[in-house]
């Protein structure tokens, strides 16, 4: 066993330890500890990923030397490593970028706690990525839910209270559904370790027994995760939640938390139920339909917004819809495309949220579109970052979103009959809708300000600028590595089960 193989464990340990230590530290130390921890995780994963590539397979890791089924297991594979790396990078950059804003928006006593929550989110994300048993997964789902709620509430404004309450309720509803599903699974199979469950289910599927309960389980998992990710029709909490919290929080929520949940769902499909069973199941159509509806209705909601952060939030609904729909397609190509988009979108959406905040600052702290006119001139780097993000979401060539579109389309074409047509039509329509609201905003950024606009002084943060530049650079160049990334993903999926 090489040292590098411990990386998953180390990462999770580090985040948990930071989470425990941070409350007792003074504010500044807490901040730097948190950032430092995340940076270390990033570096670890950068070390880890090539190793996984060369390994060519996945391995399981026993925690505490207790073999399954009593102990916990982690499983590390190429796909998990890639996802963990991407999400850690997002986490790091979000924290750095939003740091200054955070200091102004959150009460000083609470700022330390904010970082605690960040660490917990990190831990949760990593665990969900690497875990190999359902019980741990559930525990960390709850941890994630609570910590993301707290992240939202850190900024204590009326809206955020309401929003986080709403999120809490819905999230608990989602967790409840997942719990029921886990209970059912346990009842059905008697195991909690993913591989064991799968073996039993495969047996049942071969015999043709328990088809309905298995469908119900799949449906419950889908519904539960859908609620947590903000898929139509469970998306009501999302715009408020993302719209009113501090920018770092929204970035983390939209890009790390949702993605972690989604990745868990895919993992459940592959490792708990077995992808063959899932793909022949009717419940998958539910995912497809919900996904397509989210794609379209999310965009329509975005068009109707008057305020930029809500618009970006609705856009998240739409993009998560893409992910759901293409997994709902029921083919490996679809899953690969969805994973690719997961990475791209995580990087992109967080950048969007992080750049909105400085732009609003430069416009007299207002989020409304009319006030944002000309913001691109007032604060150049966030403007460019936002433009890049928008272009990527629309799918302009060179940028990452374009390649997502290509992979999505290829996957869709390989589908059958009405599925193919629906997905292609939804893709085309969604591109148009995205263009509508994103381009409108981008153009608005570069307009002349409305009459009577008084240019107010605002605080420019160099850290934000630098971070956004790095973010922008990543988004710009990810397109060039699309080929490699998709290859990694495809190989990873092969070893995923």
């Amino acid at each position: 066993m090489q040292l590098v193989q411990n990386v998953p464990f180390f990462s999770i340990m580090l985040s948990m330890v930071s989470a425990i230590v941070t409350p007792v530290l003074p504010r500044r130390a807490a901040k730097w500890l948190s950032v430092g921890m995340v940076s270390v995780v990033v570096c670890l994963h950068i070390w880890f990923l090539p190793f996984m590539v060369s390994l060519g397979g996945s391995y399981t890791y026993m925690m505490g030397h207790f073999p399954a089924p009593w102990g916990n297991e982690l499983r590390a594979g190429l796909l998990e490593a890639l996802i963990a790396l991407a999400l850690s990078i997002v986490m790091l950059l979000s924290q750095l970028s939003g740091m200054n804003k955070l200091q102004r928006q959150i009460d000083p006593p609470k700022q330390g706690l904010f970082y605690v929550m960040c660490n917990l989110v990190m831990a949760g994300m990593l665990t969900l990525t690497y875990t190999n048993d359902l019980f741990t997964a559930y525990v960390f789902i709850e941890i994630l839910a609570l910590s993301s709620c707290a992240l939202m509430m850190a900024r204590q404004v009326g809206h955020t209270m309401v929003a986080s309450m709403r999120y809490m309720i819905l999230s608990l509803l989602g967790s409840g559904l997942i719990l029921i599903a886990i209970a059912l699974t346990y009842n059905l199979t008697g195991h909690l370790l993913m591989e064991n469950i799968r073996a039993v289910i495969a047996q049942y599927a071969a015999d043709g027994e328990y088809a309905l309960p298995i469908s119900v389980i799949i449906g419950l998992f889908i519904a539960g995760i859908a609620i947590k990710c903000g898929i139509f029709p469970f998306h009501m909490w999302l715009p408020d939640a993302y719209g009113y919290s501090t920018s770092a929080a929204s970035a983390v929520l939209s890009s790390v938390v949702s993605k972690a949940y989604f990745f868990l769902l895919v993992k459940i499909f592959y490792r708990v139920i077995g992808i063959n069973v899932v793909m022949s199941d009717m419940a998958l159509n539910l995912m497809l339909v919900l996904g397509v509806l989210s794609m379209i209705l999310g965009s329509i909601g975005a068009i109707r917004c008057l305020d930029i952060r809500r618009m970006v939030a609705y856009s998240s609904v739409s993009q998560m819809g893409y992910l759901f729909a293409w997994v709902g397609l029921g083919s490996t190509v679809g899953v690969a495309a969805a994973m690719f988009h997961l990475v791209v979108h995580a990087l992109c959406k967080s950048m969007l949220f992080l750049s909105v905040s400085p732009l609003c600052d430069a416009s007299g702290d207002s989020k409304r579109f009319v006030d944002l006119r000309g913001a691109g001139y007032r604060y150049v780097i966030p403007g460019i970052a936002f433009t890049l993000g928008s272009l990527s979401m629309v799918g302009i060539p060179i940028l990452g979103g374009f390649f997502s579109k290509i992979f999505f389309a290829e996957a869709a074409i390989s589908g059958a009959g009405w599925v193919r047509i629906t997905l292609l039509a939804a893709l085309a329509l969604s591109t148009l809708l995205n263009a509508l609201y994103f381009m409108h905003t981008v153009l608005g950024l570069y307009r002349r300000p409305k009459k009577g606009f008084v240019r107010q002084p605002f605080i420019k943060s160099r850290l934000t600028a630098v971070t956004l530049s790095v973010f922008g650079f990543i988004n710009l160049t990810i397109g060039f590595f699309a080929k490699d990334i998709i290859n990694l993903i495809t190989t990873g999926i092969q070893n995923f089960a």
């Binding site: 272009l391 799918g395 060539p397 374009f402 290509i406 085309a428 591109t431 148009l432 060039f480 080929k483």
Partner: protein, 481 residues
């Protein structure tokens, strides 16, 4: 050589963005030198390096960015290379009256590069790639001035092109899925011939409308008249020459080099596309007659003429392709000049509406003479050049044996009648009607604009005689001889 030709404008554009603020002179020198240099390089590439392809980037084995200059590409690239320096010169003088020169010229140069890239794309993927990028590099040109109307026009342009491009995207993806490569092959990519027929037709139609949005085919034509609020150098070059011709060019590539005539010919897809094109011809001509704003009238005229080209292309015979390309070349020359006249009039006298053109000959004799000359040309009176391209279109139409061909001929002729109404009429009133009694001083534009006019008029006259060699060259291009 070709790569240098692409890079020069990009470099020039970057230079303008950074240094241009220092002063007008520097900016203009950079701009004109870049343009001229690029044109020179393009010409060199045309003559010295036929048929070589370069692969720039490889995303996957099937999706590459690659360039080559085959016959059609040469035609388009040559046309662009000829027109851009003239337009740049014109823009210098025009922009004296506007602000924001720096960004304007930077983007103007960038668009040059993008158009060249489209012209020389070796495969459908690259074509789509640069098609989208062209939209981006031109949208801020349309929005120049950032007034309410400009922003509206820019938004409309963006929504239409990006939205429709998603249709083109689907078409392109389908090609990728069904065949291993998207490289253009005259007569169609072989692998696609084996693919399910209906699917291919449907995807072709999607691509036709997707790429055809830039060629303003009904019902996706709405952006063009609205975009005429942009400064005239933008409208003239981009929306009468570069962008719209890129649209026509893309459709030609799609029809002849990707899906292939044998696949589409005689099917409902062809009928649909030809009908759309014919309808657009008539529709736009009628709207042009009603339109009182000069630039919008010219915009509708452009829409109509573009559909002539699309009509020719969709006949799906080599003659049709040849006719469409001929019309593309000739129409670009004429329309560029017409828009330039309109711009000169607007700048010198502030008149924007057709009624205000009456008697303008006294004030701007040169401009109005050129305008009248172009009007006569565009109607298609022999022996001027548009007659040659219309003749080619008509012969191709009759020769295709398609019933839509005959209807198309009728439509062409009716539209020519309308062209007379909407172009010749203002030209005549400009000459004939007297204006107010007080003597007006002559306000012809300066030497930069005039250079454009003279060169273009000379070109148009020369082409009357040179028309035959060009036609022969095009026949070669399309594989007729």
């Amino acid at each position: 050589m070709l790569l240098i030709a692409f890079c020069v404008p990009i470099v020039g554009s970057a230079l303008i963005f950074t240094w241009g603020r220092k002063g007008k002179r520097i900016r203009r020198w950079i701009a004109i030198l870049s343009t001229l240099a690029t044109s020179v390089f393009v010409c060199l590439a045309l003559f010295l390096e036929p048929g070589r392809s370069y692969v720039l980037l490889e995303f996957t084995s099937r999706m590459t960015i690659a360039f080559t200059l085959d016959g059609m590409g040469k035609v388009f690239a040559g046309l662009i290379a000829f027109l851009w320096p003239l337009a740049m010169l014109y823009a210098f003088e025009y922009m004296e009256h506007e602000t924001g020169e720096n960004t304007f010229f930077g983007q103007y140069l960038l668009s040059y590069s993008m158009t060249l890239l489209i012209a020389s794309s070796e495969n459908l993927f690259s074509l789509y790639f640069f098609f989208e990028l062209l939209t981006l590099s031109t949208v801020f040109l349309v929005a120049h001035g950032f007034s309410h109307r400009s922003m509206y026009a820019a938004r409309k342009y963006l929504y239409y092109t990006l939205g429709a491009a998603s249709l083109g995207f689907l078409s392109m993806i389908s090609v990728l899925v069904y065949s291993d490569t998207t490289t253009f092959v005259l007569g169609g990519i072989p692998a696609l011939q084996q693919a399910p027929h209906t699917m291919m037709l449907l995807l072709f139609v999607l691509g036709f409308f997707g790429f055809g949005v830039k060629a303003a085919v009904f019902p996706l034509h709405g952006w063009l008249p609205t975009a005429s609020v942009a400064p005239t150098p933008v409208t003239s070059l981009l929306h009468a020459v570069a962008v719209v011709n890129a649209g026509v060019f893309s459709v030609a590539r799609l029809a002849y080099y990707v899906y292939g005539p044998t696949l589409i010919s005689g099917t409902w897809a062809q009928t649909l596309c030809i009908s759309m094109a014919s309808f657009t011809i008539l529709f736009a001509s009628v709207k042009a007659v009603h339109e009182q704003h000069l630039k919008r009238r010219l915009a509708y005229s452009t829409i109509s003429n573009l559909s002539y080209m699309l009509f020719g292309l969709m006949l799906l015979t080599p003659l049709g392709l040849k006719a469409g390309l001929m019309h593309m070349i000739f129409h670009s020359l004429i329309k560029l000049t017409l828009f330039s006249c309109a711009g000169a009039i607007m700048v010198q006298t502030g008149r924007e509406y057709v009624q205000e053109l009456r008697g303008l000959r006294r004030q701007m004799p040169i401009v109005m003479t050129v305008f009248a000359f172009c009007a006569v040309e565009l109607v298609g009176i022999p022996p001027f050049i548009i007659f040659q391209s219309k003749w080619a279109l008509v012969t191709a139409a009759f020769g295709s044996g398609h019933v839509m061909g005959v209807i198309g001929v009728v439509v062409l002729l009716i539209s020519a009648g309308f062209t007379a109404a909407y172009l010749l009429k203002p030209a005549v009133t400009a000459f004939a009607l007297p204006i107010e009694k007080k003597p007006e001083e002559k306000r012809d534009p300066g030497w930069q604009m005039l250079t454009l006019f003279f060169v273009m008029t000379a070109a148009m006259l020369a082409l009357i005689l040179l028309g035959k060699p060009i036609a022969d060259y095009l026949s070669q291009v399309v594989g007729l001889q």
